[in-house]
């Protein structure tokens, strides 16, 4: 990959073991936890639910069902603030007070590609790297698209976050079994990409893949190394065409977390009801936690020792792409790999005038001229922003990071993108 930036990696939770936390009093399960059609609730207020019971589903192909993480009662179905989007329907579950056993692993499970795909959809599996694209759609390329490379994304280039790398250390074997399943669905070569600073993860996976011919490649530490397009370029040299998908060039990319979930779905019949999340930044005891979906951010922060000082920004995700939250009462969603807290003293500096230094160009992995798009956006010339490829931006935030004037270039580009999309929809 060309360009990109080198922010301080700040992986303070590196090597901290994944811990289970106390089940919270309430779980907030959002009906929109994937790209595609929103789910409809299958349960009513006051209804009893069982662990792993399907509680939300949509009849659309591009969508995945949702499951209850616990035995409990549906307390209410409300509109609730969503961590990465607008308010949406949300089932509030009050868990029964009890302990849960991990479902038993059945190593003797036999499956074939088609069945596996159905199970993957049924177990609600989506891309856990953040985009939450339904995995069954990704793994069934349309007629005529030949996939010859499966890329497993363990780059984790976002500073602070260690959920993926810790998962690789503790569950390398399971991840490899998950890769086997994908390999059975799509017969193609497998490349695992991991950033060079995660030596333990690389070692763990190397040991686990010894019986396979999967390739593990160490990648230079750089942000956004783990962004799909950048990762494909780094590992295969191929370039995803503008507006296209990896499958157009014969590649499918899966995050290690997703692969682990695929393993659990097939061998344990366990839907995605929990995930590993890094809680870090200005909290007292940062760490990696395995927790149920719908756990509120404040419960997670409490599990991490509570706020260290007065929080200023609470992010869903890492510092480069993380979404600042209005409130810490939002629930954990499938694609949420980290919660980062910054106090006032890490406040982003105020912006000054652009001095046209060109640093945004030097770092843009998409080879855009962010400054020009931002200027057009600021002046509400969205057509010109479109002509200058605003839509090619994948919002990594390198331009803002590098900007010496601390201008919110990405914010302006996002505005253009929203405006361009709106115009397109109107047509």
């Amino acid at each position: 990959m060309k360009r990109g930036v080198h922010p301080l990696t700040n992986k303070i939770t590196e090597g901290s073991e994944i811990r289970d936390i106390k089940i919270p009093d309430k779980l907030y399960i959002y009906m929109s936890q994937h790209i595609g059609a929103e789910c409809k609730p299958l349960v009513k207020k006051g209804e009893k639910v069982e662990r792993f019971q399907k509680i939300g589903e949509s009849d659309q192909y591009v969508s995945t069902p949702l499951h209850s993480p616990v035995d409990g009662t549906v307390e209410d179905i409300i509109k609730h603030e969503h961590p990465v989007g607008h308010e949406c329907d949300c089932i509030v579950i009050r868990p029964d007070k009890k302990k849960y056993e991990e479902p038993t692993t059945n190593d003797a499970v036999k499956y074939n590609g088609k069945d596996a795909l159905n199970i993957i959809r049924d177990m609600g599996i989506v891309g856990l790297g953040g985009a939450m694209f339904p995995t069954h759609v990704k793994l069934s390329p349309p007629e005529g698209k030949k996939i010859d490379t499966i890329i497993i994304n363990g780059a984790e280039c976002e500073p602070y976050l260690t959920a993926d790398s810790q998962l690789m250390i503790e569950h390398a074997k399971e991840i490899v079994k998950g890769i086997e399943i994908i390999h059975d669905i799509i017969d193609a070569q497998v490349i695992i990409g991991i950033e060079d600073n995660k030596k333990k993860s690389i070692k763990a996976l190397q040991e686990a893949v010894s019986e396979h011919d999967y390739l593990i490649k160490a990648l230079p530490v750089k942000y956004p190394q783990g962004a799909e397009k950048a990762l494909i370029k780094s590992l295969t040299g191929r370039i995803v065409p503008a507006g296209g998908l990896p499958m157009d060039i014969g590649v499918v990319v899966c995050n290690v977390g997703t692969v682990f979930s695929i393993y659990e779905a097939i061998y344990k019949q366990k839907p995605i009801v929990e995930r590993v999340v890094t809680v870090t930044g200005d909290v007292k005891k940062p760490g990696n936690f395995r927790t149920m979906l719908g756990t509120t951010f404040n419960h997670l922060v409490k599990a991490a020792g509570g706020y260290a000082g007065k929080p200023n920004v609470v992010m869903c995700g890492g510092p480069m792409m993380g979404i600042a939250q209005k409130t810490d009462a939002v629930g954990l969603i499938k694609g949420n790999n980290g919660i980062l807290v910054f106090n006032e003293d890490r406040k982003f500096p105020d912006s000054t005038d652009c001095i046209r230094c060109g640093k945004c160009i030097d770092v843009c992995p998409m080879n855009l001229v962010p400054k020009i798009i931002a200027t057009y956006s600021k002046n509400k010339k969205f057509d010109l922003a479109a002509d200058n490829h605003a839509m090619d931006c994948f919002e990594c935030g390198c331009c803002n990071y590098a900007c010496p004037s601390k201008i919110d270039i990405l914010g302006l580009i996002k505005q253009s993108k929203a405006e361009i999309r709106r115009k397109k929809d109107e047509k």
């Binding site: 301080l8 370029k233 370039i239 503008a242 507006g243 296209g244 404040n298 706020y307 929080p311 200023n312 920004v313 609470v314 992010m315 995700g317 510092p319 480069m320 792409m321 993380g322 600042a324 939250q325 209005k326 409130t327 810490d328 009462a329 980062l340 910054f342 890490r346 982003f348 500096p349 000054t352 005038d353 652009c354 001095i355 046209r356 230094c357 640093k359 160009i361 030097d362 992995p365 998409m366 080879n367 855009l368 001229v369 400054k371 020009i372 002509d387 200058n388 490829h389 090619d392 919002e395 935030g397 803002n400 990071y401 590098a402 900007c403 010496p404 004037s405 601390k406 919110d408 990405l410």
Partner: protein, 317 residues
């Protein structure tokens, strides 16, 4: 814990660079050239440099009040402009010319266009302004010994290159490097300027394209018309112009290809002025003319984004 969280766009971390840090580095990178000027031309150079710095700074503070802008009373950018302007003045100019030029540089050169949107390099446009308004003061050259004498390029223009070699003999390159020769305060010592340029490169303040293509174009042109290439590179304002003036962020294109075209244009014009015009030197006019062309160059040199094929015309203007 509700409602007192700050909602802002990602990213939430930033590099250590700030505009003021960049300007401060440029200011320090100019110091070797300034010190060389002071060493060779003495107190008059000190006076001119301090006058320009003070006048630029005061103008900036006053205009900040007038325009209600908020970047604070201390601003390295105005000091850089003042310093650059001082360095392109002959050591003999009276203080009032320095003051008028500095005020012009900040007020018309920068603020009139809106900061960060000026078309022309403020120091160079101010130099041109005083050169046109008070031509007599801007054409009076002395050697470091205080003797009135033509600069090497003027001598070459008037009497030809043989006169230059006659006067300086084998020490010609040495004096051009050390700065022990007539000329503007900060232009004479190539070594001092290169030292400053090295600082800019090491800290990544300027990138290599503009200076490299500027100097290479000059060298190629010079060789083609049969002039002394090393003399052309070292004499006059070329070194200061290539490293500190043409690389000005605001007035040069920001695209990579644009920078190359811009620099080649600067080199071509510089040599056209030197060889075919009545002027002995053309660096400042060359850069100013290319400044005017910079927005157009930028418009036609936008890069091809990742994932686009070369054969498609991808950038509409």
């Amino acid at each position: 814990m509700k409602n007192n969280l700050q909602v802002r766009n990602a990213p939430h971390v930033t590099s250590g660079w700030t505009s003021q840090k960049i300007m401060r580095l440029v200011f320090f990178a100019l110091l070797p050239a300034a010190i060389s000027g002071i060493y060779h031309f003495g107190l008059s150079a000190v006076g001119i440099i301090l006058t320009c710095l003070a006048a630029s700074w005061i103008t900036d503070v006053v205009l900040q009040k007038v325009t209600n802008s908020t970047h604070g009373w201390f601003n390295w950018s105005s000091l850089v402009t003042g310093m650059l302007f001082a360095l392109v003045l002959p050591p003999t100019v009276p203080p009032w010319v320095a003051i008028i030029g500095s005020v012009f540089a900040i007020s018309i050169g920068k603020y009139a266009f809106g900061k960060g949107n000026n078309i022309f390099n403020p120091a160079l446009i101010a130099r041109t302004f005083v050169a046109v308004s008070f031509p007599a003061f801007l054409a009076k050259w002395i050697t470091p010994d205080g003797v009135t004498s033509a600069t090497p390029l003027t001598l070459m223009k008037l009497e030809g290159y043989s006169a230059v070699t006659q006067q300086y003999g084998s020490t010609l390159y040495n004096v051009l490097l050390s700065g022990d020769i007539g000329g503007c305060i900060g232009e004479t010592s190539a070594i001092a300027i290169l030292l400053g340029a090295a600082i800019l490169f090491i800290f990544g303040v300027i990138e290599w394209r503009i200076p490299t293509f500027y100097l290479v174009t000059v060298a190629v042109f010079s060789a083609m018309v049969g002039r002394d290439v090393i003399f052309d590179l070292l004499a006059g304002g070329l070194m200061l112009g290539a490293f500190f003036m043409a690389t000005d962020y605001v007035t040069s294109p920001i695209t990579y290809k644009g920078k190359i075209i811009f620099a080649m244009g600067c080199g071509l014009l510089t040599m056209l002025f030197r060889v075919y015009s009545n002027l002995p030197e053309g660096v400042s006019y060359a850069i100013l003319l290319m400044n005017a062309a910079a927005p157009l160059i930028e418009r036609y040199t936008k890069p091809r984004p990742f994932g686009w094929k070369p054969d498609k015309k991808v950038i509409k203007t």
